[in-house]
């Protein structure tokens, strides 16, 4: 990572041609890299600006024939997003123009910003909490509408909020416990053992659930994983190629052609998913096949949804085998969606299938996409409220918190164990939760005790 005192610049709008383009500049030298070639309409106002303001004007680039019209949104002080002087150049969104402007900025002393560097500065300046910072990166990297929605929710404090609520609840419980320990002379029962156990269990269950969600999210990477599976020559690769719109897998009519697993991003009704093609469900167990089966098994384990492809032209025996394997997968607890492929060759299987398609005849494909989308959005199947990057960071803290709360519940259920031990585990759990949202607990603990209890021998 490079210096925080450097002045950085980068394109802030989406790459490619658009009506408007935005270039963002941040750092102590922001004014310096602009002042000699930005000609503001109101020069006095631009020179003297002390507060955030928008300045219209023109940019003069030596090698360009005419000046570019540009508005500069200018934050001269610390009240900007990054906590540093910051400028945004709003101009026409033509890629050659934007490139020329960036080149000129770099020539005058700014350096290209690294990915996420503006956000890092905002976080370091205390403008964002950790979860929000990660959410910004999520917005930037979002590859689908669903993901963007999650990122925006996290930015607005979605996860932070539920974490804060839970933390507050556990902190209240700790205050009750601590009051009982520190104010023994008051002859008050601050909280009963049953009450302690009940509240601890509630916390444990919530944290455990969040930990599971985070873990699933991590396993899923940034996007939900949809795995195409089925017997050899079921048309998986044909479907795969069609959905991704390019020739990823070698498609051939010989069973067992797909010897490696292939992956690509499928934009399924606005949702970016990782689409994975697997080797056919081999009948024989040759050596390479076994290794591959293991590989495919792992993929199935990690799938958010398995699209089971059954070719319409199977014999009765093959159909039986097909049904048996599918049932096996379903029993292993993975969500399975069955699709009848090659329905143009249909011999009469379609009636029982969930969906039938024909890539050759371009039949049923939109319906399939809608069905997959619906499966992935089923809230029971999968929680989408975690951003992948936050999940990765938080998982360990959540697991630690869940473990501490489980210990606490065990202690609370043993009649002889002291409340100081329960409090110890609860503190550990709060420490872990505090790491997630980035707060400490000791400061507000005593406040809570005194606001609730009349204490004062």
């Amino acid at each position: 990572m490079k210096g925080l005192d450097d002045t950085i610049a980068a394109l802030a709008s989406a790459p490619g041609a658009a009506a408007r383009g935005i270039i963002r500049i941040s750092g102590p030298g922001t004014f310096a890299v602009l002042k000699d070639w930005f000609v503001p309409a109101d020069a006095a106002n631009w020179q003297a600006a002390k507060t955030p303001q928008r300045h219209s004007g023109k940019l003069l680039i030596p090698q360009a024939r005419a000046p570019f019209e540009s508005d500069v949104q200018w934050w001269p002080g610390r009240r900007s997003y990054t906590g540093q002087p910051l400028a945004e150049l709003h101009m026409v969104g033509s890629p050659p123009v934007l490139s020329a402007v960036l080149a000129e900025l770099y020539r005058r002393g700014a350096r290209p910003a690294e990915p996420g560097e503006f956000t890092l500065r905002a976080f370091l300046a205390g403008k964002l909490d950790l979860l929000q910072a990660e959410a910004v990166l999520g917005v930037i990297d979002a590859t689908g509408e669903q993901e963007l929605k999650t990122a925006l929710e996290q930015l607005a404090g979605g996860i932070s909020q539920s974490m804060v609520l839970m933390r507050r609840d556990l902190l209240e419980l700790l205050a009750d416990l601590e009051a009982g320990l520190d104010f023994v002379e008051e002859h008050l029962e601050f909280v009963s053992r049953d009450e302690i156990t009940r509240r601890l269990m509630k916390g444990r269950d919530m944290v455990t659930q969040l930990a599971q969600q985070a873990r699933q999210r991590m396993h899923a990477g940034e996007r939900p994983r949809v795995v195409l599976a089925g017997l050899p020559n079921a048309g998986k690769s044909t479907l795969f190629n069609h959905l991704l719109g390019q020739e990823h897998a070698l498609v051939s009519p010989i069973p067992g052609t797909t010897r490696d697993y292939l992956t690509g991003i499928w934009h399924c009704e606005g949702l970016a998913v990782d689409l994975i093609d697997t080797a056919g469900w081999e009948f024989a167990g040759d050596e390479i096949g076994t290794a591959m089966q293991q590989f495919r098994h792992d993929q199935l384990e990690r799938a958010d949804l398995i699209v089971w492809c059954s070719a319409a032209d199977r014999s009765a025996t093959e159909r039986e085998i097909d049904a048996r394997y599918r049932a096996d997968i379903e029993q292993a607890g993975r969500p399975v969606f069955q699709v009848i492929t090659k329905s143009d060759l249909q011999i009469g299987i379609g009636a029982t299938a969930s969906s039938s398609i024909s890539v050759a005849k371009n039949l049923g494909l939109t319906k399939l996409a809608r069905a997959v989308h619906a499966c992935l959005n089923d809230p029971a199947a999968r929680d989408r409220s975690w951003l992948g990057s936050s999940a990765a960071r938080c998982e360990q803290s959540l697991v630690g918190a869940a473990e501490a709360l489980s210990h606490a519940v065990q202690l609370a259920e043993q009649p002889g164990s002291g409340e100081e031990l329960i409090a110890g585990e609860l503190r550990l759990a709060l420490e872990h939760l505090g790491e997630i949202v980035g707060v400490v607990y000791t400061d507000d603990l005593l406040d809570r005790i005194f606001s609730k209890f009349c204490i004062g021998k």
């Binding site: 990572m1 490079k2 210096g3 925080l4 005192d5 102590p28 610390r78 906590g83 540093q84 500065r121 976080f123 370091l124 300046a125 205390g126 909490d129 950790l130 601590e178 320990l181 520190d182 104010f183 023994v184 002379e185 008051e186 002859h187 002889g416 164990s417 002291g418 409340e419 100081e420 031990l421 409090a423 110890g424 503190r427 550990l428 420490e431 980035g438 707060v439 400490v440 000791t442 400061d443 603990l445 005593l446 005790i449 005194f450 009349c454 204490i455 004062g456 021998k457």
Partner: protein
């Protein structure tokens, strides 16, 4: 340079001669002989410093100004720590207490907390006698009016920024060295270190209803000019208030209708040197307020100085006045009142729980409405006292001030409350002042080592926004900081710095050896395939029951205290291990050091609030920085970045590293 508004610059020739006398030449002067001052003076003298203890009134050495009790939850642990290091409080209370109770016995051993009712006068005389008997320590009655300092050098930029300065470049300021104290009459004590332990006596005003009297305690005066002197040196002073309840004549109390609260049948001493407690014990008594009293208080709130606006400073939330309790907890219809005898040779009884600043006539009516007190006579009325304290973020972790070398603050002047908290600070200030003069490294206790470590770290790092009292919940390593192992934690340190007496050292060594032998035996012997240690971990077994079955343990013939220690350590081992792992984890980040010369104002990425707070506290490592309230993880990330990657520093900090 002499500081002090009442200093007579034209010192007479006669006085000049007097002050040439070696009676006025000391290594260390301690101002104030309360609980902090006594421990400070004794520790300094015991570490070889020629020490003088200056008090306004030699009849009030070690006086218990408020309640007649020592110890309690968290405070009892502190007394044990003071004793383990070689302090005096534990021995004095053991010798003079009239009742002992071990609180929290129904909880685990980390929560056990010794508490004792003191015979106030006996305590005071016993402490005074110990002070008088200490070689190298002079007790003298003087009123201190100012401090003498000498300018050492101009401080470099960045060492001492004005905390609220808008300016990014801190103002250079001077660094002074203490050289002595001026007392009333113009005499000067020359010394190399001064420890100020003036308690509530700086600019003190007492309030009883509408009546205001100057003074830090009923019957005593105040020290006004010392405050001026501290201000002239640039110290910030703020005001706190605290209160006391009325005291009754016990002869006029009807004990037959009260609930008795006797002492423990098997009292346990505070000091590790006390073999056994043999004195007869007195009981305390319990009664309570009622709805009628609460109504009476509500009707008269406008006459309570705090509610009338006469007092505006902050008081403690955990020791609220009865008027506070009635207002804040309006739904309660009764509050406890503990009646505590003040000694064996007095009928005076302290009414714990109804501290008040209401006027006398209201106090009379309150008392007469309490069950058992219908005919009680008030001997002393309750009052509130307002006093100056110096926000403790102006101190280093040795309790030496950042502004003046050789000047230390300890006790209530630092915004704390409680005899135990004061004594602990006094002890550490005395130790550190003496160590510094001897050219030895300072004694700074970690938060994982002692409640005293928690206390001082909290004070210098977080400051105080109400009078600071210790609670076990302040200690994140509570399971380790037990009253039963204070000697195991701290006596080796006392031995190392030379504060442990030969008697203490010998006893401790013997005890430690017993524990080693016992622990080894537990691991060496097996029954039914399990080690004795594994058996002892089970809740149904104790050292005693295990010894009955195993001759190997019986043969060790351990003292009950050593056996108990082994048992606690064994049974708590799992939890302690978990906590130790946590300490280890936090230490990794926490020990990243921040150089003394680091200029927080020169880190533009820090928020303004963070820069100001860090500049004021000047934390010595990242752990301490993180404990400053209002410092966020983002602030720490910035600091970490600046400390770990100096090449990425802003220009202002680059030369400093």
């Amino acid at each position: 340079m002499v500081v002090g508004s009442h200093v007579n610059l034209a010192i007479s020739k006669e006085l000049a001669e007097v002050t040439m006398n070696s009676n006025y030449d000391f290594d260390i002067a301690v101002i104030g002989a309360g609980h902090a001052g006594c421990e400070a003076a004794l520790a300094a003298a015991r570490l070889g410093a020629k020490t003088v203890l200056l008090t306004m009134n030699a009849d009030t050495v070690g006086q218990m100004s408020c309640n007649p009790a020592i110890g309690g939850v968290a405070k009892g642990q502190i007394v044990r720590e003071i004793d383990a290091l070689g302090g005096e409080m534990g021995r004095v209370i053991d010798a003079t207490a009239i009742q002992f109770r071990m609180l929290n016995r129904s909880k685990g051993p980390a929560m056990y907390s010794p508490r004792a009712q003191a015979d106030k006068k006996a305590y005071q005389f016993d402490m005074k006698f110990r002070i008088e008997s200490q070689p190298g320590l002079t007790l003298r009655q003087e009123i201190v009016e100012g401090l003498r300092v000498e300018e050492l050098r101009a401080k470099g930029q960045g060492l001492c920024a004005e905390p609220d300065s808008e300016n990014l470049n801190p103002q250079p300021s001077t660094l002074n060295q203490i050289t002595g104290v001026m007392v009333r009459g113009g005499a000067v004590y020359r010394c190399r270190a001064v420890i100020i332990t003036t308690g509530t006596f700086l600019q003190a005003i007492m309030h009883t209803g509408e009546t205001k009297t100057p003074g830090g305690r009923a019957g005593d005066g105040t020290t006004g000019t010392l405050s001026d002197s501290l201000r002239e040196l640039g110290f910030e002073l703020q005001r706190f208030k605290t209160g006391t309840p009325c005291r009754l004549n016990g002869r006029t109390i009807d004990y037959s209708v009260l609930d008795e609260q006797p002492g423990d049948a098997d009292p346990i001493p505070f000091s590790y040197l006390t073999e056994k407690l043999t004195q007869p014990q007195l009981s305390c008594w319990l009664t309570e307020t009622n709805a009628g009293i609460h109504d009476l208080i509500r009707e008269n709130l406008h006459r309570a100085p705090m509610y009338s606006g006469q007092i505006q400073s902050t008081g403690p939330r955990y020791c609220p006045s009865i008027e506070d309790k009635v207002v804040r907890f309006a739904d309660r219809t009764a509050h406890h009142i503990f009646l505590e005898p003040e000694g064996r040779h007095t009928h005076e009884v302290y009414c714990n729980g109804i501290s008040t600043s209401l006027p006398r006539d209201v106090q009379d009516r309150i008392v007469r409405s309490v069950r058992g007190l219908e005919h009680a006579e008030i001997m002393r009325y309750g009052y509130a006292v307002e006093y100056d304290f110096a926000p403790p973020t102006q101190l280093q972790r040795t309790l030496e001030t950042k502004r003046v070398q050789g000047l230390y603050f300890a006790g209530q002047i630092n915004g704390t409350t409680g005899y135990e908290e004061a004594a602990g600070q006094g002890l550490l200030a005395g130790i550190n002042a003496a160590l510094k003069l001897n050219g030895q490294p300072p004694l700074i206790l970690d938060r994982s080592q002692a409640y005293l470590g928690v206390l001082i770290d909290d004070l210098v790092t977080k400051g105080v926004d109400e009078p600071y009292r210790m609670f076990t919940s302040r200690a994140e390593y509570r399971l380790l900081l037990r009253q039963d192992n204070a000697d195991r934690r701290l006596t080796p340190i006392g031995q190392q710095i030379g504060l442990a007496s030969p008697e203490r050292s010998e006893r401790y060594t013997q005890y430690d050896d017993e524990i080693s032998r016992g622990t080894a035996a537990l691991l060496a012997h097996r029954v039914d395939g399990l080690t004795l240690e594994e058996w002892l971990r089970r809740p149904e077994w104790s050292w005693e029951t295990l010894s009955e079955r195993t001759p190997e343990l019986r043969a060790l013939d351990l003292s009950p205290r050593a056996a108990e220690q082994i048992e606690i350590e064994t049974k708590y081992a799992g939890y302690i291990k978990r906590q130790a792992a946590e300490i280890e984890r936090q230490h990794k980040v926490a020990t990243v050091r921040i150089p003394e010369s680091f200029n927080f104002q020169g880190v533009p990425q820090l928020r303004k609030e963070a820069r100001e707070k860090l500049t004021r506290v000047r934390p010595t490592d990242l752990g301490q920085a993180g404990r400053i309230s209002g410092i966020t993880p983002a602030d720490l990330t910035v600091l970490m970045l600046y400390l770990k990657q100096p090449e990425r520093l802003g220009s202002e900090n680059r030369p400093a590293l």
